[in-house]
Amino acid sequence: MRAALHASGLRAYWQRQYPWLREPGALAAAEAHVLGTLATLPAPYRAGFATALRLLPLAFRVAARRSLRAASAEEGRRGMRSVAALPGFAEVVRASTALALLGALDGRADEEERGGAHAHR
């Protein structure tokens, strides 16, 4: 899964979009949370997720006519809007990004006191 995430180009995309993911240690915490969560999924979901991640650069190139890694922040956003029209990609990009942001902002011990709950029960 780590290889699929690295191949997806999402890490570079996140760093361009979100300043918090540029802080030292934040990207590592984000990646750890993404990979740690995906590791808890049943095998069929994991396989589907990994496939979508690996296909993301191609989907982005087809939809946006740019490389995801080379795209500027604005090009990345516009391209992702187009990619979201392809079945399954919107969910995978949104879920991965949500996990990355949660990991970066709430995934380190020094973030403990900021506190927070994730849903009402």
Partner: protein
Amino acid sequence: MRTGRRGRIVETDVVVVGSGAGGSVAALELAAAGRQVTVLEEGPRAGTADLAAASQAGNMRRLYRNGGLTPIFGTPTIAYGEGRCVGGTTLVNGGLLWEPPPHLLARWAAQSGIDGYRAQDLEVHLKTVTTRLGVLTQRHGAGNRDSQLLAAGAERLSWGWQHADRAVRDCLHRNRCTTGCTSGAKQSMTVSYLPRAEALGAEIRPGTRVVRVLHDGRTARGVLTVGPDGARTVYRTRAVFLAAGPLGTPALLQRSRIQHRAAGRRLSLHVNLRTIARFPEPVHADRGTIFTAQLKEFGDQGVLIMPANVSRGSLAAALAGRPAPDTRRLLADFDHLGVFTTQVRLHGTAAVRAVPGGGLLLRHAMTAVDHGALCDAFRKGAALLFAAGATELTPPVAAAPALHSPADAEEFCRRVRPRDWELVSVHGMASAAMGTADRGGVCDADGRPHGFRGLRVCDASVLPGVTGISPQGTIMAFAHEIVSRFNNP
């Protein structure tokens, strides 16, 4: 313990599958009746110190099924969250404990054809639960400004609201309810029922997944498990209590070929709409407990509105579908934001299917009526928050613009499509519902799957319908009654 064809064999009096609100009641009441009880829990065990030492994201990964990433497919896909740990969802919920309204129980009795679970039948059990867990009405404290604003907005509209009834002792308002209370104040099963059960001799086996219930076609004889070391063990028992949750219990029944066509066909859900509100004054929504005020004006319509505690990470994650500049702008104003949950009772149901490899496939069939109900609930929430003084609302639709007035909210409701909603659910129920067979029930009045002996279901899945309120109190009351019938046939 000895070794047989299927692996190790353990003889025990009663096995309880799952350690959440239902399983813990079974464990304690059975142990108190002098039975040898073994509790099998798929997830890990985490004490208060463990919860405090880990990050919130780390606890999400460790304590939630699929790290909180369980999809219910349909239009739209709904994110479903439930605990997968010793204590089950009680370890990661808000500790809310409401008693089921008498009219709801009477309606369930009429619809299911099952009697014995009306208000007067459950009263003694609810009193036991309330006493054991120290349930109290939580007033506003120094934090929870978001709750105070909600209450003020409700009063301006002359709408009814109430404080939260919670199972907590000396809450320190650490704002970590849903990733595990770090002070031990919340009376999850991990710090209440389960230690009592252990003191009476019950054994808890974390990291033990039940593969299927073993039976001869009419009587359950035990369960087959896979332990943390990957080894298979057969537990031979006189009785099995199933409390693996609204997803796990029907999946286990399906894998065991017990009521496998009916189990899991109708999972009832509450769904949550998450609305971010900006206020002119600082709110500090990350200070305080989960919430201290809830709008109850529309409770009879299945709509409740309350604040959610929030962290920077959870807020950013909730905004992941939006353009990054929106997320940056909102997080820059974090102290002025509140996040409010509008809980809606769905009319359409979902289906749970066990798939090879231990996985689950969930699919919902949200109806046009549900979409209308979501719009109506959002409209009510928007009116409440603007009355509370909010100057901007971010609705739970990634493509929607910020809303600055009730007229904007009305326009949003006119334009939103069913597939646009970003929905979360943390309450599943009735997936192996109690009811007579001719009315589609899976279990009888004793919690036994129809036609089976030696097996009882005692968790959220056995409830006859959807509660409309946080279901922990109802689940525990039903579990008490089911175990009481077993102990006193």
